[in-house]
């Protein structure tokens, strides 16, 4: 079997992007009337939905915290979201791990002390997966939380980066992701320049790590710019509709 050429001699990737380029991003807010906040997020061919319910009454009474809100996250992939059909759509090990990671990310960002004895639910559904679903879900959840008007320390944006054939690449798609190189999902607070999630489980030299990390940060910043610009437009439209800020 011939090896796939991940970087062409011209320095372009399999889908025609340059190494530091993220895929096309598109999103919509407030899709669902019954959820408190919701977002549809598209990054290349990866498409996810996120809905936020709450702050609301705690489902399991024992889990309630007297000084803050508890956060519940659920990530699931639709059976038809991948090339080969996924057998169990919910509660497999990978989904649970991602749910936990996303919950921990948002626990540090949402101002939970403002809502003691409540629960905030974040549900994410992957409709189409083409690499980077974890990061796409964090971005979607972040947007849905903003749509729900839940106070946060900062925007959370997330982007993965990796390295193939010695070249650092940002925002890997499915083909690049399955090449077996390192994968480094990162979530940052762009205004405060802080890291809230970083995962890397592969062998890399320190120099290479610095390079990949830099790529991921660049990716996050690009995504933040796109999300922020559109969010301001959407907010402007809302204000214009109401004709007042209050």
């Amino acid at each position: 079997m011939s090896k796939i050429e991940f970087i062409s001699p011209e320095g372009l990737r399999v889908d025609g992007r340059r190494p530091q380029e993220v895929r096309k991003i598109n999103y919509r807010l407030n899709l669902f009337s019954r959820a408190d906040g919701s977002a549809y997020y598209e990054q290349g061919n990866t498409r996810v939905l996120a809905a936020v319910y709450g702050p609301r009454q705690v489902t399991r009474r024992g889990a309630s915290k007297h000084d803050r809100a508890i956060i519940n996250c659920e990530y699931s992939m639709a059976t038809f979201s991948t090339g080969e059909r996924r057998k169990s759509a919910k509660r497999d090990r990978r989904s649970t791990e991602i749910s936990v990671v996303i919950r921990q990310t948002f626990e540090s960002v949402i101002l939970t002390h403002l809502y003691p004895r409540t629960q905030i639910d974040i549900f994410m559904q992957v409709l189409q997966a083409d690499g980077g679903t974890r990061c796409a879900c964090i971005n979607a959840a972040s947007l849905a939380l903003i749509d729900a008007g839940i106070p946060m320390r900062d925007f959370v944006v997330s982007c993965a980066a990796g390295m193939i054939d010695g070249v650092a690449l940002t925002d890997l798609n499915y083909i690049e992701d399955s090449a077996g190189g390192p994968d480094l999902p990162l979530a940052i607070l762009p205004k405060q320049n802080k890291i809230c999630l970083l995962q890397m489980d592969s062998k890399l030299t320190i120099e290479q790590y610095e390079e990949v990390m830099q790529m991921a940060v660049e990716g996050c910043k690009q995504i933040h710019a796109v999300l922020d610009a559109k969010l301001k437009d959407v907010t402007d439209q809302l204000v214009n509709k109401r004709k007042t800020l209050l």
Binding site: L31, F32, S33, R34, A35, N45, L49, A50, A51, Y53, R56, T59, E74, S76, A78, T79, F80, S81, T82, G83, R85, A89, K90, R91, D121, F123, M124, Q125, L127, Q128, A129
Partner: protein, 279 residues
């Protein structure tokens, strides 16, 4: 603090009283007449990872259906018949009342059984058309429906999304070699599925002794009974489903049957338009 209660507050505290102010006037809180279904939007082929897909919106209720095709060995008793595996999911994303996956198990199963019965017993699809090679290889269609937003009447949305997705399916051309290995022909044509008929559903509920067409989830919760009628595009009755609740008389049923029958043509047209728009 102001003691005046706004309409929204009354709606939350005394929902039934709230509805009783509207229904005698022949109008519902969302502005519809009692016998008017919500705006129905059907689109097909939006998912690229599935062999066939459809999104159906009934007002704000929305269902997405994706169909994946795989090759399998047929059952010994039916060596020429393909298979159809249906699943319906109501993820916690879809409604504030469903907080965990396990909360919707009963609802999922009853929707699955209802839809599967209609598809298989009224012979919507020729399972023989899914045969690749006698008694060695057939297609199995995994039909998965996700209710993305549950604002009442998700049966109608689910069934319509399944039908539209089935008409949207494109099966690749395959060949079988001597070792019985099935492979896709590179650059081959694709095959669509022919449906024998289109069973079109319409659901009703009785609220405060008034008959309401296409209820929202608020109306479903307040209603004394809900029922569904399915007619196909040839004017044949395909299914009646009234799971318990308050008793109804024949003339109400007759009236509902007529309303359903009148709607079939419009919906079949929407489905065909959705599929043509994708071609």
């Amino acid at each position: 603090m102001k003691l005046e209660a706004s309409a929204d507050v009354i709606r939350k505290l005394h929902p039934l009283e709230f509805y009783k102010r509207f229904l005698p006037e022949g109008i519902r809180p969302d502005g519809r007449n009692l016998n008017k279904p919500r705006v129905t939007v059907i689109s097909a082929g939006s998912l690229t990872t599935a062999e066939g897909s459809a999104l159906v919106k009934l007002g704000s209720t929305s269902a997405i259906c994706g169909i994946k095709a795989e090759v399998t060995i047929p059952a010994d008793t039916e060596p020429q018949c393909g298979k159809l595996v249906l699943s319906v999911e109501l993820p916690p994303l879809c409604s504030p009342n469903i907080q965990r996956w396990t909360d919707s198990v009963e609802q999922n199963s009853s929707l699955e059984v209802q839809i599967e019965d209609i598809l298989l017993k009224t012979n919507v699809l020729n399972l023989e058309a899914l045969c690749i090679k006698d008694s060695s290889a057939v297609w199995v269609l995994y039909v998965d429906v996700y209710i993305l937003e549950h604002d009442g009447n998700c049966f109608d949305a689910a069934l319509l999304s399944v039908l539209t997705a089935l008409t949207n399916v494109k099966l690749p051309e395959v060949e079988v070699n001597e070792e019985q290995i099935v492979s896709i022909v590179e650059g081959g044509s694709t095959q669509s599925l022919e449906l024998n008929h289109y069973p079109i559903p319409l659901s009703f509920c009785i609220l405060d002794d008034k008959l309401l067409v296409d209820p929202t989830s608020e109306e479903e919760e307040l209603s004394s009974t809900c029922f569904t009628i399915v007619y196909n595009n040839r004017g044949e009755l395909c299914s009646l489903y009234k799971p318990g609740g308050k008793h109804i008389n024949d003339d109400i049923l007759e009236e509902c049957k007529q309303t359903t029958l009148n709607r079939t043509e419009h919906i079949v047209k929407l489905m065909k338009q959705a599929n043509e728009a994708k071609k």
